[in-house]
Amino acid sequence: MKRSKLINLTMPVFFALFGLWILFTSRNMGKLEGTFPRMVGVLTFIVALFQLYFDVRLEDHKDKFRGCNLRKVIEALVAMSLYVFMLNKIGYLLDTALIAFYIMHSLGYRKYGLAVPIAVAFSLGAFFVFKILLGVPLPTILLDF
């Protein structure tokens, strides 16, 4: 089977399994709270099978990930997840400055003399608006007031 077809089939297969999973997990729910998830599960499974049938029959499959920079996208998602994970550990200011710098750097901004102060300025600017003006308790190590 072609790589492009295989990639395209993952979507309906995922939804078919997802529909079955919804049905499976809703089996212990009562009549009132379980009816709606069961309806959703059945609908998901049936439509996913339809989609799978059409995708299997389709001959001309385009590779949806061809030409895109998937590695960079995954890298960005990992960086964002790390940002969330580290927030309470290193504090908002440092964490945000780091992610802002990472975004600029990884998108190809190479003027480091400007990138660092810009990243710090974004972090301080957002801190000022949210923590000082709006009173949002952003996690901080320093400047905890």
Binding site: F36, Q51, L138
Partner: protein, 507 residues
Amino acid sequence: MENILMGLEQFANPIVILSLLGGTLLGLTVGALPGLNDSITIAVLIPVTFGMDPYVAMVTLVGIYTASACGGAIPAVLLEIPGTASAMVTTLDGYPMSLKGYPKRGLSLCVTSSFFGGISSAVVLLIFAPLLARLALKFGPPEYFMLAVLGMSTVIGMAGRDIAKNFLSMTLGLWLSCIGMSPTTGIDRYIFGSASLMDGIPLIPRMIGLFGVFSILRIFDAMGKDREAASATNGKVIEREDDKIAIPDLAMCKRLLPTWLRSSMIGNILGIIPGAGMTMAIFLAYDQTKKANPKLPFGTGVPEGLAAPEAANNAVVASSMVPLLSLGIPGNGTSALFLGALTIHGLRAGPAFFKDYPDMAYLIIFGFIFANLAMLPMSLLFCKYLASKVLKLNPQILAAAVLTLCMTGSYAYMNNPFHMGVAVVFGAVAYLFWKFGLPQAPLILSAILGSMMETNWISSMVYSEGSAIVFIQRPVSLVLVIASAIFFVWPLLQRVRKSRRIDHKLR
């Protein structure tokens, strides 16, 4: 009348006026920046409005929504890059007009057409939203259930070509609406042991992910491609001496009036229908204008080619708020964000909105009217002095600013880092949806309407002792059943007819 005056009274506050103007300027700016749009900006800014006065917050968002569709035309005309998806069609005649040496005339036409479309939709909102809300006050659970079904049917029938994909997107949204406590029994479902999921997945971080984080991932996705290719022809644009930013003269206005009227009507109707949206409106308006003017060489810089999509996209803006303010059903993704904005200020959109919060309801309506009135001169000045500077803003620095606001905004929603994670997850979901050609609109709408559907389904069943006949026994519900069937089946029939016509031609 008293209610209208209550809404108008709020504009006596200079801060409200300034916020409206500020929102309009921001809307123009983000619209002009390729990669940013109204949804991203509103999603990111809603958390910033937490601490604001609700009136100030809402008019700011109204200003952004009103002006961004107009701002999207600026790079479409000058660079052949649509600033927003709603300006895709504007490039067809906008850029050729620039190549002819009339970029400023092109921008002026876009601004004036946007104003015409925008004002028409604000008037539609003023007339229809209170009427529909008054009617909806008589609705019971079967009608509400059918209203949700109607919203789903239109979004599935019209959101895209592939109906099965629309369905799958919708079912995922419906499942998302099941997360948290059951609205009927209070028993938790699909919370995976997380207390943060007890109240379900909140709308704001979800939308920040679907719009804001996704916009960043798209930039990463495109890295390495020749992104400059589209603007490579930029150097060919020359400016003639008689080219200037100004409202078109009377003769041109007379010439464009039928196009403005036709396109505004298309935009207004499609705006009111949940799920139809701007993209459909611009293509339909352009197509109808072409049919109405068969002798004009569209695609070569014809004024009608700019007037049609620009009037249509702005005509969708305020009219998409009609179902939201009167029924609590968002017309599109951006109006869904308004639902979130109202909720965080303790307001609930729906039939009782005009009765419970008449000041806010009419503030929003008049906000759209005033934002359009302000948009015309502001857009002309913006195009004259700021447009070229805004287009030079560095996209890498902008991306960093957007992500900073996305993450901080998600945290600020309930002071919980968990919601930042929600935004990241939904950014990834939006990316996969985009890659696999799954439309986002059914996901957004069904995740909002899901709990309304479930609650009213159960209430209807209790009321009718388990018989589904209740949906066709009540006249309004029956009308909604028929309307749902039409909205669902009609686009399908159109497609079948179109494919038969193509087959016939090929033979």
